[in-house]
């Protein structure tokens, strides 16, 4: 299912564009905020859980996944270079799986690892840092699936992905009780909370539903993205 040539081209495309410079910005903001709060409050109070949960898992991960996930496929569809990839017998499912893998690994590198670093800066090698890191890893995978699906299914994927993060994750999921079951952020925080047992994380789900719902989301989004790419059509000029 994973095609190393597709992944290699995707990595080269991802880091060959100036847009790649943006990948470090969310992580940089997280590290700067952590350093400032560490200087101001030391290790006292519950700011590390708030920063790692709200800023790290809640903002840095989805924003980085958005930038990366919409780049790995959306940019190629926008400029039609994807035709060279699709004019081969490679199964579309393999293309999608490889693109998701590239997006997830890159998001982990630019979001999950900085969450771990921020956690260590805040409290040293503590369970909170490790828990948030694992939550961010899960978030990197699920968000990547979602944003690759949006890229395969819709024109202007950045706008739709941004609307999803801002409206669904940040607004509806925090206001409507039932929507928390369909929030990638909550699944990530569920993992982080299960590992760290930190009460400062705004988590509403436990380990099992977080994992089960994440696996269902990954399978469904990967399948549907493959279907949409199989039905890829060239747009009229």
């Amino acid at each position: 299912m994973y095609n190393s040539t597709v992944a290699w081209i995707s990595f080269r495309a991802l880091f060959g564009r100036r847009r790649a410079l943006l990948f470090v910005l969310p992580a940089l903001v997280l590290i700067v905020i952590t350093l400032v709060l560490k200087n101001a409050h030391g290790t006292q109070s519950d700011w590390p859980a708030l920063v790692l949960g709200r800023v790290g898992v809640g903002a840095v991960v989805p924003l980085t996944a958005l930038l990366v996930g919409t780049s790995v496929l959306g940019s190629e569809i926008d400029d039609n270079s994807v035709l060279h990839l699709l004019a081969t017998p490679v199964p579309r499912r393999d293309v999608i799986v490889s693109k998701i893998a590239v997006s997830a690994v890159t998001t982990m590198l630019f979001a999950a690892v900085p969450v771990l670093i921020a956690g260590i800066i805040a409290q040293g090698p503590h369970k909170l840092a490790f828990g948030c890191f694992l939550g961010a890893v899960l978030g990197s995978i699920v968000y990547s699936c979602l944003f690759v699906l949006i890229s395969a299914a819709l024109r202007h994927p950045v706008i739709y992905a941004l609307a999803y993060v801002a409206i669904w994750e940040q607004l509806i999921a925090s206001l409507v009780g039932g929507a928390k079951y369909l929030s990638v952020e909550q699944w990530s925080l569920g993992i982080a909370h299960s590992v760290s047992s930190s009460g400062g994380l705004d988590s509403h789900l436990t380990f099992t539903p977080s994992i089960v719902l994440s696996v269902i989301a990954v399978v469904l989004t990967t399948w549907y993205a493959s279907e949409r790419l199989s039905a890829f059509t060239v747009r009229a000029d």
């Binding site: 095609n3 081209i9 495309a13 270079s81 081969t88 199989s230 039905a231 009229a236």
Partner: protein, 321 residues
């Protein structure tokens, strides 16, 4: 080594024994409310076929339908009996050169063509890539990023990537765009050679000269409809409602004009600076009678030139009608 000699060596050993048939059966395609292709039926076999038509006529739509990047709204498109829509396996035997210039510009041509060979799961991707680059004469520039190439060089890199798996069917959308005259001639030799080897080559163009020089047969598309199909000289002869124009030179053009106007196959004659221009209503009868009537009249016939049998004339008639 000439391009033709080079093409004699297959890029990858997939076998050329059984040529594939490409078929359109009453195909219609709409973009929203716009009919891009309207009830087209055609069949392509081995050799080079030119897809000719003005801009916006539906040529690219036909190529995208054939490569499975559009589905027919009505009718069926098949390559060797298989519909390409949602069947990427057709690319085992089909190569596509898209018109748009978008390509992985950050790769070198060698990387690009090798990646294409790997995506086709060829047993020796590097060797296949080298042969394909050699076919399009890109070896010298193959290690430069594609973004540094001229448009013509990019076209050649795209052709190399499409040829890397030695496809039996090659689809090219405006392949000569941006090529200089030398590159153009080389590409024509290459495609002609591939056609002579039994591959089915379909290329689109709005440049008559390219199609006239290269294609064995033409498919003329006008406003989404197939206006004509076949050898363009044959198409011209079938256009019986338009007189065939010949320019003749003889020992006595004025006397010859008097003789020819008496023939029922001739609609009119006029003396011009280039010779005697004859408008024949019946191509067959006129060409059969010409030698006899000139001999009988004691006039020496020096030159007979059909002046509207070019593809340009055929195309102008078809588009005009």
């Amino acid at each position: 080594m000439s391009a033709l000699e080079q093409t004699a060596a297959p890029v990858a050993p997939t076998g050329q024994d059984s040529p594939l048939t490409v078929r359109f059966d009453h195909v219609t395609h709409w973009y929203g409310n716009v009919v891009a292709v309207n009830d087209i039926s055609l069949e392509l076999g081995p050799g080079v076929t030119g897809l000719l038509g003005p801009n916006g006529a539906g040529k690219s739509t036909i190529l995208h339908l054939l490569s499975g990047f559009l589905s027919p709204s009505r009718g069926s498109v098949t390559i060797d009996g298989v519909g390409p829509w949602r069947h990427p396996d057709v690319f085992r035997t089909v190569g596509l050169v898209p018109e748009r210039d978008s390509v992985y510009a950050f790769l070198t041509a060698r990387e690009f063509v090798t990646a294409s060979a790997k995506l086709h799961r060829l047993p020796d991707p590097k060797a296949a890539a080298e042969r394909a680059l050699d076919l399009v004469e890109m070896e010298q520039a193959a290690d430069r990023p594609i973004q540094t190439y001229s448009k013509g060089m990019r076209q050649r890199a795209k052709v190399a990537a499409a040829l890397v798996h030695d496809p039996k069917v090659l689809l090219l959308d405006e392949p000569f765009n941006g090529m200089d005259p030398r590159q153009r001639l080389h590409m024509m030799d290459l495609l002609r050679g591939l056609g002579e080897q039994g591959r089915t080559i379909l290329f689109s163009s709005h440049i008559l000269e390219e199609v006239e020089k290269l294609a064995d047969t033409v498919q003329v598309v006008v406003a989404g409809r197939l206006a004509a199909s076949g050898d363009y000289r044959t198409i011209r002869r079938l256009m019986t409602n338009r007189p065939h124009v010949f320019v003749l030179r003889s020992t006595d053009d004025r006397a010859l004009a008097g003789v020819l106007i008496a023939s029922s196959a001739v609609q009119g004659v006029s003396l011009t600076a280039d010779g005697l221009e004859v408008h024949a209503s019946d191509h067959g009868t006129f060409t059969r009678e010409l030698a006899k009537v000139t001999r009988d009249a004691g006039i020496g016939l020096r030159e007979v030139v059909p002046s509207d049998e070019s593809l340009e004339s055929v195309f102008a008639y078809l588009v005009g009608s």
